[in-house]
């Protein structure tokens, strides 16, 4: 399992209600179900991934986070997880609002465009950066709204979303991934 998933799982509380938005093939959900809480649901857009989730015995709803989060009542989950997909939405702000409405807390991870490798890539090559976390070319990347950890923290501050990120400049330079727990 990805290291990121262990980090996310550690942020959750036992017996809490968890919604994994864009749960993929259910790897993280399965880990959470077996180790933290059985009360886990997933929302996933890919039919192939849903089949994999069903085979794992997970409860998953086919749907699009940009359209289908609205069916979940406010504060119906203790944690709503969104792993590395915020940047791929047409309207990330709308999704952020929905995450914070449905979940008492949201756990959000983002690929960090402020990482030093990305910065050097752009500085010296003069082309859109391609790294391990950002493997696509500019013309086929699903990432429509890339941001840095600093951008994300600034956004949360501006919108009065609670977020904790000490040593921001240091973290923004050295982390390939930002994982945050946020709440309204």
């Amino acid at each position: 399992m990805k290291k990121e998933f262990f980090t996310i799982a550690k942020l959750l509380k036992e017996n809490s209600r968890v919604l994994d938005v864009g749960c993929g093939d259910g790897e993280l959900m399965k880990y959470i179900t077996e180790n933290i809480t059985e009360n886990v649901r997933g929302l996933e857009i890919s039919k192939a991934n849903i089949q994999k989730c069903i085979a794992k015995g997970l409860t998953v709803i086919e749907g699009d986070a940009e359209k289908d989060l609205k069916q979940f009542p406010s504060s119906s989950y203790d944690f709503v997880i969104l792993s590395q997909t915020l940047q791929a939405f047409l309207d990330p702000e709308k999704v952020m609002n929905e995450l914070l409405r449905v979940g008492k807390k949201a756990v959000v991870s983002i690929p960090n465009f402020g990482h030093w490798k990305v910065r050097l890539n752009l500085l010296f090559k003069g082309t859109m950066p391609i790294t391990k976390n950002l493997p696509n070319e500019w013309y086929n990347t699903p990432n429509l709204h890339m941001c840095t950890i600093k951008d994300f923290v600034n956004y949360c501050d501006k919108k009065k979303i609670k977020i904790n990120c000490p040593n921001l400049n240091y973290v923004n330079f050295f982390s390939e991934l930002g994982i945050f727990i946020i709440e309204k």
Binding site: R17, R41, K47, I50, Q51, I54, A55, K56, G57, L58, T59, V60, I61, E62, G63, Q71, F72, P73, S76
Partner: protein
């Protein structure tokens, strides 16, 4: 042995109050079972059939000698694996495969009921079938499953008996029959009633049968079970055993010939009055209205796990109508999974060999069964 003797029946002695206000009692309910009920009696699945289905869901139907309507999904090692599960399927009341219906003899007249049979609803069908749990001494089913009208029965069942099934699988259905579907059903009914052999429903005692009307009803309905793409790919404008158009009204096109065939074989196995009664029951189905416009309330008392399935090309019970059930369940935090299966086979997809669909059902049942152990 007479074919009809191969139909298993229970006689429901206690009175059942129907939605129309009438009460029935001492009426037969025909059923079939597949697989074995285990000692703990925790492996039972109640399958509900659709409009023209019957209790012979799998294997050879002893009456028609055709494969059961859900042979792809139900049987040993299949999606609903009868090596593991004990499956019960009953003919709905109002039907014509041995259960109490309009072709049944009315003891007060000695003639078949015809249209003197009371109008029944999905709720009545489900309440009648509930007696099977007592008959088999099953405290809680493992699952209730059904597609189309079978799915409506699934929803009504869990609403009526919230603690009687661990899992609930409504497929390609709706919580509230749409205007379009009522319209299509009305087309079929009018076709039957326009046949002069229908005789206001008393054709049996007059030794007649409204075959033409029933065949046209089936032809019209059959189109709604397919998709435009499916029809185009299978038939296109292909001609039926001829090189060119004949400038007449014979079946020039393969699709015409196909529909005529579907209509003609249907009248051999189905009763016209049953068709009227069952389509009426579907039209009257509105679970949302039963709960004063709040569908969530229908499921408030249950802690069952739901798995809802729709098909991309189903325009009769399209995905948004299935999704409404998901939304109602989500609104009250119930355990609900949902998948829309890719298929260009239309509403009929749930009866066909669609691997993604069958795998999803199989995996869902088997992983869920492990959890209740």
């Amino acid at each position: 042995m007479n074919k009809i003797d191969k139909i298993k029946k229970i006689v429901i002695e206690k009175p059942l109050k129907l939605d129309c206000g009438k009460t029935i009692h001492n009426f037969p309910l025909a059923y079939e079972t597949y697989g074995k009920l285990n000692e703990k009696k925790d492996n039972a699945i109640l399958v509900f059939h659709a409009l023209t289905g019957d209790q012979f869901a799998s294997g050879k139907n002893p009456i028609t000698n055709k494969e059961g309507w859900w042979s792809y999904a139900l049987g040993p090692d299949k999606a609903i694996d009868t090596n593991k599960f004990f499956v019960i399927c009953a003919n709905v009341i109002g039907g014509c495969m041995g259960s109490y219906g309009p072709s049944h003899l009315d003891n007060s007249t000695g003639k078949p009921f015809g249209t003197n049979f009371p109008v029944i609803t999905i709720n009545d069908m489900v309440n009648a079938q509930y007696n099977l749990l007592e008959y088999f001494n099953i405290k809680k089913l493992f699952s209730v499953i059904g597609g189309s009208m079978g799915g409506m029965q699934v929803l009504q069942f869990i609403s009526n008996f919230p603690d009687k099934s661990h899992t609930v699988i409504p497929i390609a259905c709706t919580a509230s029959h749409s205007a379009q579907n009522i319209a299509l059903n009305e087309l079929g009914r009018q076709s039957i009633m326009a046949d002069h052999n229908w005789m206001e429903g008393f054709y049996a005692e007059n030794k007649k049968n409204p075959d033409k009307g029933l065949a046209v009803a089936r032809m019209a309905a059959h189109i709604t079970y397919l998709s435009k793409k499916g029809l185009q790919e299978k038939f296109g404008r292909k001609l039926q055993e001829r090189d060119d158009l004949k400038f007449g009204f014979d079946a020039d096109f393969q699709i015409e010939s196909y529909l005529r065939y579907q209509g003609s074989v249907f009248v051999d196995r189905f009763d016209a009055n049953s068709y009227l009664y069952i389509t009426r029951a579907m039209d009257y189905f509105d679970l949302t209205k039963q709960f004063s416009g709040n569908l969530s309330k229908a499921f408030e008392k249950t802690s069952s796990k739901f798995f809802i399935i729709s098909f991309t090309s189903d325009w009769l019970y399209p995905t948004p109508e299935n999704r409404e059930i998901v939304i109602a369940l989500n609104a009250i935090g119930k355990n609900v999974g949902f998948v829309e299966i890719n298929s260009d086979k239309g509403h009929d997809s749930f009866l066909l060999d669609i691997p993604d669909f069958l795998n999803a059902v199989k995996n869902y049942l088997e992983t869920s069964y492990k959890k209740i152990k």
